[in-house]
């Protein structure tokens, strides 16, 4: 074999090796950005499967200012989870079709819900066994929820954030 062919093969192999590395990195990169999109779990009820993935931005823009825009889980198993608030109510409980499914021994299947009314969110207990607490007070009827005040359900704690 001529020397030239071997030299070309030698360096060709090395270059091919790096091409492979960069191709893998490229696939990972595309995956990363796709992942950034798909990392946002749409909190739609499972049974229905809404095509909300395509138009997530629209409802979130409706109101700004001092209104609550996020529901943040501050304690419990889901700590760190954020839910972007829209116009729709949020149901909380162990049931699979809740907006926020909490796996907490002290939570009921349909524990509580958060309902918006004229820009103000109300928390309402849905007849849970262990009760819902707004800060330290037990929630008996629809109660307005101020920003930053913890709603306690079992071991889980939730807060509204602007």
């Amino acid at each position: 074999m001529p020397e030239l062919v071997i030299t070309v093969a030698r360096f060709g192999f090395l270059i091919l090796l790096w091409i492979f590395v960069f191709t893998v990195v490229g696939v990972i990169r595309r995956d990363l950005f796709a992942g950034a999109r798909s990392g946002r779990l749409v909190a739609a009820p499972r049974a229905v499967g809404a095509p909300a993935g395509q138009q997530p931005a629209k409802p979130a823009k409706v109101k700004r200012g001092r209104a609550a825009h996020q529901l943040v889980v501050t304690a419990g198993q889901l700590a760190g989870t954020r839910i972007t608030l829209g116009e729709a109510q949020i149901t909380i409980g162990r049931a699979e079709d809740s907006t926020l499914v909490i796996t907490d021994d002290y939570a009921s299947a349909r524990h509580a819900r958060l309902v918006p009314r004229d820009g103000q969110w109300f928390v309402e207990d849905l007849g849970s066994t262990n009760g819902t607490y707004l800060d330290r007070a037990k929630v008996t009827g629809p109660t307005p929820v101020p920003l930053g005040v913890p709603i306690r359900i079992g071991r889980t704690s939730l807060e509204l954030r602007p």
């Binding site: 492979f20 696939v27 995956d31 946002r40 749409v42 909190a43 997530p56 989870t81 729709a88």
Partner: protein, 496 residues
């Protein structure tokens, strides 16, 4: 590369256009896999061109055999883990293929020049490695078939933990003639056949660690005294760490193997760190390990006995050139090989791996390095890095704690093993007999590592699978009617 990012097949539930644009990326995996196999064939051809001065007409046979096997596992992944990570399988396939190619190159070197051209496909260590690859990939595929959900293994956590400890201990209690190879008691030898149970113990122990720590994480992450800005755990919570430390020290003493002991201990400490998110565990772990290793070194120099092996290795590491023809021979030859390779290497087939002791095993990285140089070696190291990164990524994304710990721990284990052996060869840490994952000759290591990859594929499938794929929602909504306003539709959970 295909730009076709459309889902290759519809997920089993048949729900496709519904909730989210979930991409399985199986086609990316397929094309990456084919590219990797082209690389392996090119490697083979270059070796033959250099060594034989001609390319035999069947140089492609090993590469084709590997391609067939990997395509088989690809099909299994396509149907059973459709959302698994697309980069994992091709990266591992490349390393495995290069390993087989290099071992075959060693066979060519050993064969008489007249016989070289018609070396059978399954002859020599290269052929055996090919066979082992086949078996390992079948095992990995079998694991994917059996384990449809990674959480199901947590049911056998205690059994696996016990099995792991037994596997670790067997070589230590066996008489040396059944278990000792090159001074390390890590094998079970029956005739010419030997297996390394410790390789399988890694996986078993990690399942146990993950399960145990998921249950105990709250206790273990309890804060206690704050010292130098770091939270240190309570004394009684240190128990399990000390037990694993003692076991790994015993591995160091009775099996005379620093690498394995470092691996077990590192595995546990990192899983503990992932579970509790406390840096103090890492510091405690490192401190314990260094104290243990230093004690073994001091005892080795004074008492000798079981510690002598470690002492000798540490001495070689401190000054490999003190005794370059006897004790330091292997390391010195390895360093010289890497040095000869230089930036671009001598070319596949152009090196002299024959003079490197254990080049098919521990020193395969130095042997390959001589031929592909720093340029090629860094590519291989990056491939390892990508495998570890994808594993950690799966750990980050998966939703259950057991899966997080399992995937995080396993991918870290692969990374640590590469570090231990490459660090040993390049003189960064004392040399220990570890196999280079997927490259080294040896069935045990290959099988165990492929099983790890199967678990990682399973976890990454769970991590990337769209949440809603469980319920059968209305498929493709006909017409352009406005989507029905659902009570939860505008909200979205953003994972931290």
């Amino acid at each position: 590369m295909t730009a076709a990012a459309t889902p290759a097949i519809s997920p089993p539930t048949g729900e496709q256009s519904g909730v989210r644009l979930a991409r399985s990326r199986r086609n990316s995996e397929l094309s990456l896999l084919l590219l990797a196999m082209v690389l392996v064939a090119a490697y083979q051809a270059t070796i033959e061109a250099t060594l034989l001065d001609t390319v035999t007409s069947d140089f492609w046979v090993p590469a084709a055999a590997l391609t067939a096997v990997f395509l088989g596992v690809h099909v299994v992944v396509r149907f059973l883990a459709p959302f698994a990570d697309p980069a994992l399988l091709p990266a591992v396939a490349l390393l495995n293929g290069i390993g087989v190619g290099f071992l075959r190159r060693l066979d060519l070197d050993d064969a008489a020049p007249a016989d070289r051209a018609d070396l059978a496909t399954f002859a020599g260590i290269g052929g055996r490695q090919l066979l082992w690859t086949l078996i390992s990939v079948l095992l990995a595929a079998g694991l994917l078939v059996l384990m449809r959900d990674h959480r199901s293994v947590s049911r056998y956590a205690y059994t696996l933990g016990l099995a792991g400890i037994v596997l670790v201990m067997i070589p230590a209690v066996l008489p040396a003639r059944f278990s000792e190879i090159n001074g390390a008691k890590l094998w079970i030898r029956v005739g010419s056949f030997s297996i390394q149970p410790g390789e399988f113990a890694k996986l078993a122990l990690l399942v146990f660690f993950a399960y145990y720590l998921v249950r105990k994480r709250e206790v273990l992450s309890l804060a206690s005294r704050r010292f130098l800005g770091i939270d240190f755990p309570r004394g009684r919570d240190l128990g399990p760490v000390l037990v694993v430390w003692a076991i790994s020290l015993m591995v160091l003493i009775f099996q005379k193997d620093l690498g394995t002991s470092l691996l077990y201990f590192g595995m546990f400490v990192v899983t503990l760190y992932i579970a509790t998110e406390r840096v103090s565990w890492l510091l405690i772990g490192l401190m314990l390990f260094f104290v243990g290793a230093y004690m073994a070194y001091v005892l080795g120099s004074t008492v000798g006995g079981p510690f002598a092996n470690f002492y000798v290795r540490a001495e070689i590491w401190l000054d490999p050139f003190a005794d370059p023809t006897d004790k330091g021979y292997q390391l010195v030859q390895g360093l010289l090989a890497l040095g000869t390779g230089g930036l671009f290497g001598a070319g596949p087939g152009g090196g002299e791996p024959g003079i490197l002791p254990e080049v098919q095993n521990d020193f395969i990285f130095a042997g390959i390095g001589e031929e592909i140089g720093l340029f090629g070696l860094s590519a291989l190291l990056i491939v390892y890095l990508l495998i570890v990164e994808r594993g950690l990524r799966a750990a980050l994304a998966v939703r259950d704690s057991f899966g997080k710990l399992l995937a995080g721990g396993l991918s870290f284990t692969i990374g640590l093993q590469v570090f231990v052996i490459v660090g040993g060869i390049s003189g960064l840490i004392p040399l220990t007999g570890q196999t280079t994952p997927f490259l080294s000759a040896g069935g045990s290591s290959l099988m165990a590592n492929w099983l790890i990859i199967a678990v990682l594929l399973r976890v990454s499938d769970a991590a990337r699978r769209p949440v809603a794929s469980g319920g059968g929602g209305p498929a493709a909504r006909p017409g352009g009617g406005p989507p029905q306003q659902l009570h939860g539709a505008p909200t979205e959970v953003i994972r931290p």
